[in-house]
């Protein structure tokens, strides 16, 4: 259907632009987005932003308190840990490791989950039943349990914990893709494409996938916050990243031994995880309500 406008200068914002406008209206969501940007900058430019090497030890400056306390020193903004490593440097690198690995995990889970989900959503009959229920059953297995099993088979390490979390995240994407595909498949425009002779692959790539991006973005942010929490939790439990790798959970776990002497070793990495997750959640929430507003509009 040819579309023409009466007035040449009338501006039709694209769906994304409309979402962005709705998003901008919420100050909280914007604040979250700014905070998240800061974390992303930390993650991308960690080596440029940090004053020390990440595992650089300073024997003479063990457990230096943060700079804002009475006996802190400005040379160590967040103080140092029990090996004299600069905590600011470690936390920045920690954001890089934790956020980066969480991001990779989510992208991987999304790729696998969406393909499986689309496949399951287009199937019919017994095969569909199996393809539907196996992931649902898997979804019920707690992440920690999957991680424990992966660690038992492959040993500890950041990469192995990433595999475990990917595995745990996949079913969610499968679930959502599948139900979305299934609802879409019943819609008229799909029937129209089918009548036009589109095969399943064409149906999926040209008709369904564009409608899925929003769901994927929203699910992606949810998955990202879960992934950050899980990666740091596994690091904290010594099942994931191993010290001295600067993963926020592992840094926190290192700090536990000196909790009473140097509480900032527990407080600051924990705070970093908290704000990281908070900013992701706020952005995700903002995106969701912006999308909802657009759809309802």
């Amino acid at each position: 259907m040819p579309q023409y406008s009466l007035y040449e200068e009338e501006f039709h914002p694209s769906p994304w632009q409309r979402t962005w406008r709705a998003f901008k209206e919420s100050h909280i969501a914007m604040a979250g987005a700014v905070l998240l940007c800061v974390f992303v900058v930390f993650a991308l430019f960690a080596p440029l932003l940090t004053p020390y090497g990440v595992n650089e030890q300073n024997i003479d400056g063990l457990l230096v308190p943060p700079s804002w306390t009475g006996n802190g020193s400005i040379s160590h903004l967040f103080g140092t840990d029990s090996l004299g490593r600069d905590l600011f440097t470690r936390v920045i690198y920690g954001c890089r490791v934790t956020l980066g690995s969480a991001f990779i995990t989510v992208v991987l889970a999304m790729l696998v989950g969406v393909s499986l989900g689309a496949f399951a959503g287009m199937l019919r009959g017994v095969r569909s039943s199996i393809a539907n229920h196996l992931p649902d059953a898997l979804m019920a297995i707690p992440t920690l349990l999957i991680a424990i099993i992966i660690v038992a088979i492959f040993g500890t390490g950041l990469v192995n914990s990433m595999w475990a979390i990917t595995l745990a995240l996949i079913p969610q994407f499968v679930h959502h893709t599948r139900s979305l595909v299934r609802t879409e498949m019943k819609k008229d425009y799909i029937v129209a494409s089918k009548l036009d002779g589109a095969n399943k692959w064409q149906l999926f790539t040209y008709s369904i996938l564009p409608n899925m991006t929003e769901m994927l973005v929203v699910q992606g942010t949810i998955a990202l916050s879960i992934a950050v929490i899980d990666i740091s939790a596994l690091g904290f439990l010594n099942l994931g990243a191993q010290s001295p790798l600067p993963e926020l959970g592992a840094i926190l776990s290192d700090g536990l031994d000196v909790t009473y002497l140097a509480p900032w070793n527990v407080a600051l990495p924990g705070m970093a995880i908290f704000f990281l997750v908070l900013s992701i959640n706020v952005v995700g929430d903002g995106l969701r309500s912006a999308l909802r507003k657009r759809v309802n509009h």
Partner: protein
């Protein structure tokens, strides 16, 4: 209206949470009926003969068992325990022990004793590790590391029963540290009756899992990684007998000593008994548990910070091994007590005396004079150690308070170096061990400090470190110029320091890090083992100290303290420098 209902629900839920969270653990008298000790790990077994780890002996040795003899924690002398007195023959080869009567074994769910402690139990307990043919020798692991490392089994010719309450042990060679070995945590006395019963039931290994002993507490239950529960032993012999009873037993032993071999040893034994008499005045080393303490619980908490946390909240009454970094926190708390005592250990700086120029005593002395030990103590041990003058810590009975010590004197150091022909700019290596030990919590830091001192006297030091396994292998090969390392002893006998650290025989076994072999030194320490007279032995060890000061194969640096942290309401805790913790006599008072 609706909102007010919901509000009320919310408020109610909130208050309920608050109320619950404020349900503070009241300090009811019930909490005083048990002592909870936060220990660091699981015991490997409940029989300390089988394992030398301090975790095992802490958990079992002084709680469940008694030994024939004990160390006095203050003087380090050997005092009677299950043996009320003992006699040593003139040739030093035969030891006769008079045993205490009416000592009850534990009555538990799994064993009801029909008789009290007697000679059979002693013979069983010693023969178990001594004789490979013994039916119980191969039960459990079949290895008795403490006794094996000392070659004690080979040195015992025989253990015989003279009568029900007298046992004789015959040695092949003279060994004046023998009694000290019988007083260590590992030489516990098991119940022969219990063993016989288990053997009949075909379940001998139960003896090391469900233990029976004569100690102040009896075994109740054990859950791995969570707790060990002991109950108060009602018939504990120290609770039933007072010092008076000890005296009467002492008299009895003198009367009985008129038979056989013992009579012929009278001359020397009389002298020995005088010493015993002294000791008997201090016989209350281990005390009976206070009647108010019905339970002793080991709460197994591997993480040191969690142990401290539990101590703060009162979930533990005492804790094992507070970390060095936590000591200050404990000192600052008003409700906690930190007890400290010099431990049986030594941290030192050893020179490889087989590599020139360190084969020259003057070079070694020069280097020793170049460093300031007090600074090292402050910076590395945070003052949690005492300055070492010789090998022996103050806890040992042979400690020499006025031993010669090298003082910080860079001028003397420089002139000694010049005399020895060492040019300024001479370079050497300092090996710093990569692990943290009580006797040296941070060897690398210490090496850096020493490096700075040596630079002042014109010696350039390079610090070398490897992973612990490689480090020890290279040390064994003698690749080092000097090394910062140390030693922890198992018992209070001075021989446990002098022999493994510097004797010729200890070079191949890998404990003599100075690679030092000195005829005079070896002659002296062997001589010291040939006499039972403590004063004579002490005099010999003082000569050894003098010799060491002159030839200086190693620079003694520090004896680290042993720490024990407990809550103020716990009374009667003492640090036992010669082994594991003791809970007999501990009670809780508010």
């Amino acid at each position: 209206m609706m909102s007010s209902v919901i509000k009320r629900v919310a408020v109610c839920a909130g208050t309920a949470l608050l109320v619950v969270s404020c349900a503070k653990q009241n300090k009811q008298p019930f909490y005083n009926t048990g002592v909870v000790y936060c220990s660091e790990s699981n015991p490997v077994t409940f029989n300390p003969q089988l394992d030398t780890s301090s975790t095992t002996s802490d958990a079992t040795s002084h709680q469940l068992y008694d030994r024939l003899l004990d160390f006095d924690p203050d003087s380090g002398r050997i005092v009677p325990s299950l043996a009320s007195s003992w006699l040593v023959s003139e040739d030093g080869l035969t030891y006769a022990f008079q045993l205490r009567r009416d000592v009850a074994f534990h009555t538990t769910d799994f064993f009801t004793p029909t008789r009290t402690f007697n000679a059979n139990d002693v013979i069983f307990s010693i023969d178990r590790w001594r004789l490979e043919s013994h039916p119980f020798h191969n039960v459990s692991s079949g290895s008795y590391p403490y006794f094996e490392s000392l070659g004690l089994a080979d040195n015992i010719a025989d253990v015989t029963r003279v009568n029900g309450y007298r046992v004789e042990i015959t040695l092949k060679r003279r060994d004046s540290s023998f009694l000290a070995n019988l007083a260590t945590d590992f030489a516990v006395i098991l119940s022969e009756e219990y063993a016989a019963q288990l053997f009949e039931q075909g379940n001998p290994s139960q003896i090391d899992q469900l233990p029976v002993g004569t100690g102040p507490y009896r075994f109740d239950s054990f859950r791995k990684d969570s707790y060990i529960k002991y109950l108060h032993h009602e018939d504990y012999w120290r609770a039933l007998e007072g010092d008076v009873a000890d005296k009467s037993l002492e008299d009895e032993s003198l009367e009985e000593s008129s038979d056989g071999i013992l009579a012929s040893d009278r001359d020397l034994s009389a002298e020995e008994n005088v010493a015993n008499g002294e000791d008997l005045n201090q016989a209350t080393v281990e005390k009976a548990p206070s009647a108010s303490v019905k339970q002793l619980i080991f709460d197994i908490t591997p993480r040191s910070s969690l142990r401290l946390a539990k101590l703060m909240t009162g979930e533990c009454d005492a804790t094992a091994f507070p970390a060095q970094t936590e000591l200050e926190v404990i000192r600052n708390r008003e409700d906690l007590t930190l007890a400290e005592k010099p431990g049986l250990n030594i941290g030192f700086w050893a020179f490889n005396t087989q590599r020139p120029p360190f084969d020259n005593p003057n070079v070694r002395r020069a280097l020793a004079f170049a460093i300031d030990k007090n600074t090292l103590l402050e910076a590395v041990y945070f003052d949690s150690a005492s300055r070492a003058k010789s090998l022996l810590p103050a806890a040992s009975w042979a400690y020499q308070n006025d031993a010669d010590d090298t003082a910080y004197n860079p001028v003397l150091a420089r002139s000694l170096l010049a005399e020895a022909g060492i040019e300024p700019g001479f370079s050497m290596t300092i090996w710093a061990m990569p692990v943290e030990r009580a006797y040296n919590p941070n060897a690398i830091k210490m090496a850096e400090l020493i490096q700075r001192y040596l630079r002042e006297v014109g010696v350039e030091a390079n610090i070398v470190t490897y992973d612990w396994k490689t480090f020890r292998r290279h040390l064994q090969e003698g690749l080092h110029d000097s090394v910062l390392i140390g030693w922890s002893a198992d018992n209070g006998d001075p021989d446990n320091f002098y022999r493994p650290l510097l004797s010729c025989g200890a070079i191949p076994s890998g404990t003599n890090r100075a690679m030092w072999c000195d005829e005079d030194y070896d002659r002296l320490i062997n001589e010291a083992l040939k006499t039972e007279d403590l004063d004579k032995r002490r005099a010999i060890y003082h000569q050894v100290n003098r010799l060491m000061y002159e030839r200086l194969p190693l620079v003694p640096i520090a004896h680290a303290y042993r720490y024990q942290a407990y809550r103020n309401e716990v009374k009667g805790m003492t640090i036992n420098p010669f082994g594991g913790v003791r809970f007999g006599g501990v009670e809780k008072v508010l």
